[in-house]
Amino acid sequence: MAELPLADYARTLTGDIQTLAEAEDGSIPKTFTRWVLEQLEESGFVSNMTVAYHSGHGVMVYGFGYSDDRSVLDLYTTDFSLDPMADRLTKADVTRHFRRLLAFLQKASSIRGNFDQPTEVHQLCEGVEKLLANASKVRLFLFSNCESTARTQPEPTDFQGLPVEHHLWDLARLYRHQTSGAASEPIVVEFDPPISCLSVQSIEPNLSVTLAVVPGRHLAELYEEHRTRLLELNVRAFLQARSTVNRGIRLTLLNEPGRFLAYNNGITATATDAEFVEDAEGRRVGIRRLTGLQIVNGGQTTATLHHVFKRDKRDLAGVSVQMKLTLMSSDDLMKIVPSISRYSNTQNKVTLVDLSANDKFHVEFERISRTLWAPPTTAGGPQTRWFYERARGSYAVEEAKHTAVAARRKFKAETPAAQRFAKSDLAKFVNAWNGLPHLVSRGAQKNFAAFQDNVKKQPPVIDADYCRRTIAMGILFKAIDRVAKVHDAGSHKALITAYTTARLCEETGRRIDLDRIWREQKVSDAVVQAAHDLCPLVMDIVIQDGKHVTEWAKSSKCWEEVSCIPWTIPDELAEELLARPVEFAVDTREEEEEQLSRLKQIELSEWEMLADWARETRALELAEQQIATMIAAKLATNGTITAAQVRKALEVYDRAIEEGFSAFAP
């Protein structure tokens, strides 16, 4: 009986895939492959995937993908059955599929020669060959809508010296993945032999704490396998690079591994489930298996162990790490982990701002801002980027990735340190613009908290426009900051800047053209002049004798008074103001509707032409071509197009136009 839901799932899934393939006029296994990949991409297992099929004698492949840093090459293959409950994937099947994938890797270059460039299979071979040159690891994925009877995974092997991992996603695993609700599969760790532990009685009902000592090597291997997924809840994953702490950790590991346990504070971990070895009295004496393992503190230690293990090639013999393990239900996880992190911290200061590092808003903002190039400030000058430091130290991490001197210089030139801004800066810019200078004056932490609240209440649509305009606010803020400096605001400069900016924005009805500021990467003379006008007036109100300036500036009363300063917009500025306030889309649905209708205005045939054009000219990457094809298929069949797909498709469309595509070309 327990199997019923799985059988149902298998039937539904198989039917859905067939319908989908029918609707899109796609081949069934290929459609299934794409479908699985979309699921896995969502939870971060795969990225940059391309679906393309080749099968020959002893060779079969359905596509490839790679990690963003191009160090991991993924190959996909699929076993799709029309009768998934009757068919079983045996160990021999699994082995055979993986062997065929590896065979493809071997033969890619000779296969490529038999196809012309615009074909998928040619691009598949070419893509794989290029990646192979730089990859440091190969992952083979097998997707199946049958259940696997294989008890064990194939042993990791190697391909021309590169380690090869096997990942099997059979029916049961897909089902778990789909139903677990969590964005990703929990990390499960087996300890063989079990590690001994000391369990501590807890008075909290759903929470127990266990102390244990983990072999350092085991931890390094775990990190190798799961990377940052292991540290998902750890806020300081990004803090490693510039910290001096891990240098110490590394030296200890290299020189005095035996003392590591004595010197290091160890790691704090959480898990949602554990299997213990119990002694005769039922006391927990060993840990055999952990489910949902997360290292919430000690990310630096873990990463450094990994570094020494991989880069310095030490076997970490004799290195032990103390582990404090908290078992709790997954519901409590999100609530309690930040507290554990905050309280257990004895190393770098973790601030509130750091703790919301993983909020969706900031992730999104970071992602989009990374794609934005600021226009050159001088004609023909270099284009630069504004660097949003979502987590403290990420600029340094990014910089350190460029190991070659030239590469680092290029990074510095493209991403000047002056153009990096942190989350607290972002909050400052936005709140000043929105007329909340008293909040800005309460300090970075409190201002940030207020900003977060607002974001939660009214989630803005984070798109390129939003990022550009927000950065423009920053440029405005910084320009006014320089004005305040000229007026000798001294130690109160921050307050004066916030108030002057706020009043200026308020008075102009937020009609200052942010897009222009972005385009020119500076504010106009009229704005600067107006700020010069306004600044002394603001100073008179904020800096009053007999008042404790910093406290006074924090009150809304102060803002009321500043708002009442008799001051009108100089004509020069008035002329260049926009007719209407700068708008930020908040209701995402409206925006999405708009994009969708734009997408639907583009004819089906035009998408098809675009796909053909892209294939022939190779102006777009294969993944992009496939998006165009997918949209055409969905339009033809009235399939649902998700908001993300709409956005991606329009991006592809715009890029194609940029690259010279025209549906009306002769």
């Binding site: 099968s55 020959g56 004698h57 020669g113 074909t119 299979v121």
Partner: protein, 334 residues
């Protein structure tokens, strides 16, 4: 249709990597090409089909065995288009590849868009089967003997009586017809034996002597002496005789392709200089009223593939002569 000249045209070196292709059957709705890759100069047959077609063909691919010198792969060209690529990977099969590609192309041409790839793969598998049955030792003793008999009859009796092209066309056995030779007026089944005193003739199935829709049917029984060395004639020499005749009549390609379908593969020619055969005796019988035989309509439902022996003695009153048969072949018997 596909010939050496076409291949050589496609093989002209190109500056770019890629492949030169030529579409076959311009009138067909299917994309079927022959092509040559550059710079590897691999010859191939390319058959394209849509998603439905590939999903139908895919189960066959899984069980396909490997054949030395030939490879078959299936690839996605774009989201909805797939290509079957059959290529020649070893030079020794060069001559086999041309008729093979042509045969697969012809078979696929008439398929529906859903079955085009499936048909191509099935036909490929049929060729694999053929080549496997021939093996590296060439045709087995019985098969050689049978082929020699058919060719000898073709040369001696059909070529003498008919225009060369018509004679070669009449040799339909290699394509799997019920009798070895089929003409508008007559079908001829040739049985060859090397036994000393053959008193029976073995009939392979119930359709072999079925004269429905055939008009007349003639059974030819050749008794040969088979030995290594000696003054007899080898398989190769009868092949060469016919080749010489066919060449003049531009029936050469057809003859070569039928030869290959019989399992006489060009690169194995060396195997067929021995043994040599000498005709000891030829018997001809007209399969007519009262001829002892089993035909399909005689069999109870469910019985099939029925092989049986006929005693030669019982055939005496059906005996006919070469002259009579030749007249029938010529269509001049009235």
């Amino acid at each position: 249709m596909i010939d050496e000249a076409l291949w050589q045209e496609l093989e002209v070196p190109q500056t770019n990597r890629g492949r030169s292709t030529r579409r076959l059957f311009p009138e067909s709705g299917h994309d079927i090409h022959v092509g040559v890759s550059h710079p590897g100069r691999q010859r191939m047959l390319l058959v394209r089909g849509g998603s439905r077609a590939v999903d139908r063909a895919r189960p066959l691919l899984v069980d396909l065995r490997e054949t030395h010198g030939l490879s078959l792969s299936c690839n996605s060209v774009s989201n909805r288009e797939f290509e079957l690529q059959i290529s020649l990977t070893a030079g020794e099969l060069r001559e086999v590849f041309t008729p093979l590609a042509e045969d697969i192309a012809r078979t696929s041409k008439d398929a529906s868009s859903e079955t085009v790839l499936e048909r191509a793969v099935r036909r490929f598998a049929y060729w694999q089967q053929l080549m496997r049955s021939v093996g590296s030792q060439g045709l087995g003793r019985e098969a050689r003997l049978g082929l020699y008999g058919e060719l000898r009859y073709l040369r001696t009796h059909l070529l003498a009586a008919l225009p060369t092209r018509a004679a070669v066309e009449a040799w339909t056995g290699p394509e799997g017809s019920n009798q070895d030779f089929q003409l508008p007026s007559v079908a001829i089944e040739v049985k060859t034996t090397a036994k000393k005193n053959a008193s029976t003739v073995r009939i392979a199935n119930e359709r072999q002597l079925d004269d429905r829709g055939v008009g007349r049917l003639v059974l030819v029984h050749l008794a040969l002496d088979e030995r290594r060395g000696g003054l007899g004639e080898s398989l190769n020499s009868v092949v060469d005789d016919i080749r010489a005749a066919a060449d003049l009549a531009s029936a050469s390609a057809l003859f070569e392709s039928r030869l290959i379908q019989s399992g006489y593969l060009p690169h194995q020619r060396d195997l067929y200089d021995e043994p040599r055969y000498t005709l000891r005796r030829a018997d001809l019988w007209a399969v007519d009223e009262g001829f002892p035989r089993i035909v399909e309509t005689d069999l109870p439902n469910g019985v099939g593939n029925c092989a049986y022996d006929i005693s030669v003695i019982a055939l005496e009153k059906h005996r006919t002569t070469t002259e009579q048969v030749t007249e029938v072949i010529r269509g001049t018997d009235g």
